[in-house]
Symmetry: C2
Subunit: 321 residues, 2 copies
């Protein structure tokens, strides 16, 4: 939940002067996204999402994110399209922040995911990878392997004593293992890198929207699957739902078949994906901002997911033959 920046009437009017959307009829802060300020904007031209990019998003990355959304939508993917100004820009500024006005997509994210949702997720992720493959801008994954040790060290410095005994050394041992075994070459392209249930809208048993491209980057396609296996296939009691995993992976390969190498590396990639979210959550947990509106998520959830994947020897554990 996040609305960090307030927009004055004058600022909103000046912003809309640059677009062909008519006047603002209403503008309400919405509880969506945690990195940015989001508003539901009603203008004479329709309903839109107005996003203000706050400090955690690097402004230099915005042309990649917004360009990717345009590219995906133009290719038939259910990404919202950024609206362009009269002179063709998709990125503007309001209240001292970079800003974009983005198409409003109907649909609702699901809190209780089912195997049927996971099958749709798999197909959707494969479509994103396929349609994104000829997007020309590049962005490295700044939260992959190379970032984990520095992030671990920042956590260790922050407040080591407040953690469960032994947790830090287990994390460090895992990072050392991953550094020694991470694949150097797998099928790659644009990945979403944050496709949690919050970020997919469903409507009448179909996917109606995929949002929040602000972690998108170039990396292994199978790593995106690993992120989704972690985010969608564990139940709230920590158990792994192999039916959901099988649906997710089979949905994916209907659209884009896996290579044998991708399948072989999947357990390792799941461990990496677990470490990535464990570390960023741990960092946020240890560096809580007084008065912040966002409650940090539990890092231990991802420690338990990591432990599950450490015991996995092949993709059979994820429901594939």
């Amino acid at each position: 939940m996040a609305v960090y920046t307030e927009i004055s009437d004058d600022e909103l009017d000046a912003l809309l002067d640059q677009y062909d959307l008519g006047q603002a009829l209403s503008c309400k802060g919405i509880a969506e996204g945690v990195e940015n300020s989001n508003f539901l904007l009603h203008t004479e031209g329709g309903y839109f999402i107005l996003t203000l990019y706050e400090k955690r998003v690097n402004a230099e990355d915005l042309p990649f994110f917004l360009g990717l959304m345009e590219h995906l939508a133009a290719g038939g993917f259910m990404s919202p399209t950024p609206v362009t100004t009269r002179d063709g820009r998709n990125l503007t500024e309001v209240a001292g922040r970079p800003a974009a006005i983005i198409e409003f997509l109907d649909g609702r994210s699901v809190r209780r995911t089912t195997p049927a949702h996971c099958a749709l997720l798999g197909q959707t992720l494969a479509k994103l990878h396929t349609i994104g493959s000829d997007f020309t801008l590049k962005r490295p994954n700044t939260l992959s392997l190379a970032s984990w040790r520095p992030l671990y060290e920042a956590c260790a410095r922050s407040c080591a004593t407040s953690l469960e005994p032994g947790l830090l050394s287990e994390i460090e041992a895992e990072i050392t293992f991953l550094e020694g075994h991470w694949p150097s070459d797998l099928p790659s392209g644009v990945i979403h890198a944050d496709l949690f249930p919050d970020n997919i809208f469903f409507l009448k048993e179909e996917v109606s929207g995929v949002i929040d491209y602000y972690f998108a980057c170039n990396d292994f396609f199978a790593y995106d699957l690993a992120i989704c296996l972690n985010a969608w296939c564990f139940e709230s009691d920590g158990s792994f739902n192999i039916t959901k995993a099988r649906k997710l992976l089979n949905g994916y390969r209907e659209i884009r078949p896996f290579s044998q190498e991708e399948l072989a590396f999947l357990p390792l990639l799941c461990r990496g994906a677990a470490i990535r979210f464990l570390l960023t959550r741990l960092y946020d947990w240890l560096n809580q901002v007084e008065g912040a509106l966002v409650k940090p998520k539990d890092p231990m959830e991802y420690f338990r997911k990591l432990q599950f994947h450490q015991a996995v020897s092949s993709v059979a554990a994820y429901g594939l033959d």
Copy 2:
């Protein structure tokens, strides 16, 4: 800003089954209202506000609040209309809370109020008093004179030492004064009792909506004006803007003329209105909930407003002859 309760898909579907609004297309938590959870709901029937009433609202008062909105809207006042279920109820339940679906009104609240806004506010308040006068349900003002001493005593018990020296005794002396001088009989009826700038929407230089009736009650009309004088006519540096006050009062009496007695009591009512918001803000300040999303408002703002009105001897100070 407030979204306290999350609604599951199943709960939302079950709720909409009771209405003739079609299926839910999207439902987003919005940062509006501080006492309730509010969602912007898009259904096949249009856009609506879905409000879930949280603990601070007494469920027994909801028929008064929702009935008042219906009554005002039916009388041509720019209140949003509650939507009724197929069997005619305006109050339902979702996620274990009392809930209502209310018409979505366009417009934007202003942060920087002008004399022109104050003139429109005055007319609007007088219309509310006039159109509300034949509403048959009654609700006493639970935050008027009789509540101030108990509220003061609760504040004094809470954390007296953290307050500016002498503040508590000044508040108590003021309450004693108000108890001795409060009018027993002035023109009365339904008042809004919380008509802050947040709660009026403007569109194209007109008032397009008045929202948030959850403090509405039966009390002196002029007390509602006193609340508005406090909320709209002080600048952020604490100075009183007599031009705004004159516009507000003159706007009001275009629609509903004041009696001489109302005018004579206005400075005293302004002191009472200042004490009312001072006390509730002080109470919230001293009883902050750990992890609450709402930052308490500064009580001292209303202490300074009180001091201004204590020095006022007649409505000439508010710009009237």
